[in-house]
């Protein structure tokens, strides 16, 4: 009896510590849009790294500012040089938590609503973000998406008066990731 329990414990232990305790992606997508009727301002970064801890729903994201690609090369240059200053602040980082983690069932292969809260650090400024996210466990991974709105002002990104009508003050951000089990 005793050796069996020990084996069982070992199996459970090895599964939790090696199998599935952290999910990750290196190809997450973050899109932002601050378009106005005068100007389409839209950029996409699909090299975003993210980790999600299964034990408690803790998660984080990091992406390089320079990996945000615009259709207009001049816009991309101005974004990096004048607004977000990517030479000085090369990364955007988010660290947070899924608040209703206990209610998420990863064995159920269907879309589930998650309450996300965390801190976004950008342009040297950290700001609390809350958002509704969707988690969809499927094919051994988790497909996750989220959308929220930030304002350039909150991150001390100055928009000069001459272009104030062309750039939206509220920037909509959408995030899409396909998590896979992280193997060390």
């Amino acid at each position: 009896m005793k050796p069996n329990i020990l084996i069982l414990l070992l199996v459970i232990f090895s599964v939790t510590s090696y199998g599935q305790d952290v999910y990750f992606t290196k190809t997450g997508t973050v899109i932002f849009d601050s378009s106005t009727p005068l100007e389409t301002i839209h950029a996409e970064n699909n090299q975003v790294t993210s980790f999600l801890k299964i034990a408690d729903g803790e998660l984080n994201f990091a992406g390089l500012i320079k990996s945000f690609k615009f259709k207009n090369a001049l816009m991309e240059e101005h974004f990096n040089e004048n607004y977000i200053e990517s030479a000085k602040y090369p990364k955007a980082v988010f660290k947070g938590q899924i608040l209703n983690w206990a209610a998420i069932d990863l064995d159920k292969e269907e879309a589930q609503e998650a309450d996300l809260e965390g801190e976004l650090t950008l342009h040297g400024v950290s700001k609390k973000i809350t958002a509704k996210a969707t988690l969809h466990p499927q094919n051994g991974g988790i497909q996750a998406s989220c959308a929220f709105v930030v304002s350039a002002e909150d991150f001390e990104i100055k928009i000069p008066a001459v272009v104030r009508d062309k750039i939206a003050k509220e920037v909509s951000v959408s995030v899409n990731v396909n998590y896979e089990p992280f193997n060390r």
Partner: protein, 275 residues
């Protein structure tokens, strides 16, 4: 047993290799090319003016009575290949050039420490023949330019560039003049704010002492002002020509010390056709 998530994030190399951009604001430092070129499906429409020399005095309104113009359209066929055509009022010159981006400076690392580009151009003078009775050949109107552009963006403010150049004129003034002229360009920009930079440019030409083209070297100062889709470049230069075969060869260069200085400007307007 649980891992520190932040540690995991820090250990992962995030994103791919990135490159420095915007070593210069415009495709010209002042008269000469910079390593900046149009990306794929972007068009640069450039309008440049040089006024008369400041030493023209009140009679010439310090040069503002006269103006020399250069117009050009420059298009990025791909991110590494740009083609341009231009027309200058000075000697009624047409020009065409090709620019190839060979190396890009990497950001954050020194894997590639410099930008390297090649510029090759042909200029065609189209003024009427001075002596129509002579056996004039079309080839006599042509000047060729080969130039390497080597630049480094040292920090977000300072970029410096070296431009070794060969200018070949098919027709020179005297029979013992050489058709080839080597020159080395030194140029730089220093940003004084996010949208304003000061620039300077000097082309040292290796002229033979006995040549009939012992003209002053081209030396210019400027200010770049960027406003959204436009870049305005205001400048002072002892060169009147706005193409390499003109300002490097130097037949219209004057002396800074004599007040042979031209006020001028370049306006660049960029259009994106990327869908």
């Amino acid at each position: 047993m649980s891992q520190d998530l932040d540690e995991l994030l820090n250990n992962e190399t995030i994103g791919g290799k990135t490159y420095e951009s915007a070593a210069f604001k415009a495709t010209r430092v002042i008269n000469g090319h910079s390593v900046k070129q149009m990306n794929a499906r972007h068009l640069d429409f450039r309008i440049s003016h040089r006024f008369g020399a400041l030493n023209g005095g009140v009679y010439e309104f310090f040069g503002l009575d006269q103006a020399t113009t250069h117009l050009s359209l420059e298009y990025g066929l791909t991110d590494w290949l740009m083609l341009g055509i231009g027309r200058s009022s000075l000697q009624k010159t047409y020009d065409g050039f090709v620019m190839l981006k060979l190396l890009r400076q990497t950001a954050g690392t020194n894997d590639v420490p410099i930008f390297l580009s090649y510029m090759g151009s042909t200029e065609i003078v189209s003024t009427k023949w001075a002596d129509p009775d002579r056996d004039n050949k079309f080839s006599s109107r042509l000047t060729y330019v080969h130039q390497l552009l080597i630049a480094r963006k040292f920090n977000k403010r300072l970029s410096l560039q070296l431009s070794p150049t060969l200018v070949h004129k098919n027709l020179v003034s005297k029979s013992n003049d050489k058709n080839d002229l080597f020159a080395l360009g030194f140029s730089g920009r220093y940003k004084i704010s996010k949208r304003i930079a000061i620039t300077s440019e000097y082309f040292y030409a290796f002229r033979a002492d006995d040549s009939s083209y012992n003209y002053p070297n081209s030396f210019s100062f400027g200010v770049d002002i960027e406003t959204g889709g436009h870049v305005f470049q205001l400048l002072l230069s002892n060169s009147l020509a706005m193409r390499e075969g003109g300002f490097i060869w130097g037949e219209n260069n004057q002396d800074w010390s004599d007040g042979g200085i031209h006020f001028g400007f370049n306006i660049s307007r960029v259009f994106s056709f990327k869908k």
